[in-house]
């Protein structure tokens, strides 16, 4: 294949700078010892990282976000895998409608979902509860898991399952011993993508949290819009670090391109 020219490489370099500049700035600012946002920091230090530890609100929010991410991703996975089996394997009237419904949270503006959830949870008095939050998040992240599970199921050579049947395996055995292990990478990829999406989710959460159940992105957002101290940058740096770790793990496990494109690109 032809190589990229100099202009192309220059363009690409500038593009990379554009993509990482805001992250570099956030990380850089977080190492200041002064009380204001400056880059590069004139007096480097870990003052604002120590500040996180003396700020239990942020730690509580981070723990809640973790708990919420794990719960909602797990709920969504348990519901999405059987649905993906139905949509990916069976031909039945209503299949396309069902698939569109399950993917629709991607198309409805999140702010609309947020007000809908707020109205609904208020009426059944579940506003601000973890289970209410988790169920709402499960709806929002459902499409990610469905897409990756579907890709895994559709990409699976069906004759492998037929082979197991011809050797005498029952439907349950085929699922447990053959299908599930083979779609596991896709399902895990979907779970992780869903977990990160839930962990980072702001727009829906900001409507349905209450002061005692504040997630990390909401806490951060409120802090940013109200004050301008470098604490937000040290919290952000911690979040970036956490995400990068997950990202490298996913890239090793599944391939970031496959995860994000959402189809088997072998």
């Amino acid at each position: 294949m032809r190589r990229n020219g100099l202009a192309a490489l220059l363009f690409s370099t500038l593009f990379v700078v554009f993509m990482i500049a805001p992250l570099v700035v956030v990380i850089g600012v977080s190492f200041t010892s002064t009380g204001y946002l400056e880059f590069p920091p004139s007096e480097p230090g870990l003052r604002w990282f120590r500040a996180i530890l003396t700020n239990p609100d942020f730690i509580d929010a981070a723990l809640l976000s973790l708990e919420l991410g794990v719960t909602s991703a797990t709920i969504a996975t348990v519901l999405a895998v059987p649905a993906a089996l139905a949509i990916g394997r069976e031909k039945f009237p209503g299949r396309d409608v069902l698939q569109s419904l399950f993917l629709s949270p991607l198309m409805v503006p999140t702010v609309v979902l947020g007000v809908g959830f707020l109205r609904f949870l208020t009426l059944i008095s579940m506003n601000g509860t973890l289970i209410g939050l988790a169920l709402c998040h499960a709806v929002v992240i459902f499409p990610f898991i469905l897409r990756l599970s579907l890709a895994a199921i559709v990409g699976l050579d069906q004759s492998v399952e037929k082979a197991a049947v011809s050797l005498g395996a029952s439907s349950l055995t085929v699922f447990r011993r053959i299908t599930l292990p083979l779609i596991m990478p896709g399902v895990c990829g979907g779970w992780i993508l869903a977990f990160i999406t839930s962990f980072d989710e702001l727009t829906v959460s900001i409507f349905i949290i209450n002061p005692s159940t504040t997630t990390l992105p909401v806490k951060l957002f409120n802090h940013i819009t109200q004050t301008t101290d470098p604490l937000v940058t040290s919290v952000s740096t911690a979040m970036i670090l956490f995400t990068v770790c997950i990202m490298l793990f996913v890239n090793w496990l599944y391939g970031l391109d496959r995860l994000l494109i959402g189809e088997g690109s072998r």
Binding site: G116, L135, V139, F142
Partner: protein, 286 residues
């Protein structure tokens, strides 16, 4: 394959369907109903059913301005994403596997990092005393800072950063689908690199660009965090207005009406766009 197969797909999807009926369709219907209720500061929400909120929104130039701004920002973001994202995707596609996957991590990785964190970075960069302005003043290119915070161009810049990975992914997917031999064929017939890009590659990735644009446009039109932080209180868009009505003035019915208008206009644009794409590309590309 056998008799009980008709019920099987429905049994498998029943749990998910239950969740969606309870937590997606019900809330959306309730929001729709809420948008027809009325509100006053003393009595709260009244269970009336009229078009009062819609009339309020549609007869007030304040709201027109907000919706116009929302869709203009979304349009500008989409255009910038196409102009920058398509060439970048193609350049990445032509790189050696090592650089390709490294760039993939760097460019698409931010997709997984919280929008709030990324927007915070832009807030630091775009401020009057921010990195871009002080840099430009230091080298003497400008004497007074550009006002980028609390301005639409500032929102477009930050939003481009948030949305462009989606454009690259969409174009990437269609680049992968194209037969690499078509580029070699064009070269063997004497086409230069630019001709190959514009005459052979670009036409083949147009479906990817169109679907990427649709995604970027609809997500930009309903984005919340970036316009809320970069735009601030003064530069309102539809989603931040809904938030203010719900959490600030507590006029839920009016907020619901704005939300419904946003939802309906986004859906109409998506459907129209899809129809256009299908008509244009249904036969030619798989």
């Amino acid at each position: 394959m056998n008799r009980q197969s008709a019920a099987k797909p429905w049994l498998l999807s029943a749990p998910a369907l239950t969740l969606f009926l309870a937590l997606l369709l019900t809330p959306l219907v309730m929001t729709f109903v809420l948008s027809f209720n009325s509100f006053n500061f003393y009595g709260g929400i009244k269970n009336t059913h009229d078009f009062g909120n819609y009339l309020d929104v549609l007869s007030d130039s304040f709201f027109y301005e907000i919706f116009a701004r929302t869709f203009l920002i979304a349009l500008a973001t989409t255009v910038v994403c196409v102009i920058l994202g398509v060439p970048e995707a193609y350049i990445m596609f032509r790189m050696k596997p090592f650089w390709r996957s490294t760039l993939f991590l760097v460019i698409l990785g931010p997709l997984l990092i919280s929008v709030v964190v990324r927007t915070l970075g832009w807030q630091i960069l775009l401020g009057n005393k921010g990195l871009i302005n002080s840099g430009l003043m230091n080298i003497g290119l400008i004497s007074r800072p550009f006002r980028m915070m609390y301005s639409s161009p500032g929102v477009v810049i930050a939003m481009t950063h948030v949305m462009i990975p989606f454009m690259i992914l969409a174009v990437w997917a269609s680049l992968q689908r194209q037969d690499p031999a078509t580029e070699q064929a064009a070269e063997s017939l004497g086409a230069g690199p630019l001709t190959v890009f514009f005459r052979v590659v670009l036409p083949q990735v147009i479906p990817g660009i169109l679907s990427g644009s649709l995604l970027v446009f609809s997500m930009s039109a309903s984005a919340f965090a970036t316009p809320a932080i970069i735009g601030g209180r003064r530069l309102k868009v539809a989603s931040t207005t809904v938030y203010d009505e719900f959490m600030g003035t507590l006029n839920w019915p009016l907020g619901a009406a704005i939300a419904v208008i946003l939802l309906v206009s986004v859906l109409i644009i998506m459907l129209a766009w899809n129809r256009l794409m299908e008509r244009r590309y249904s036969g030619a590309f798989g």
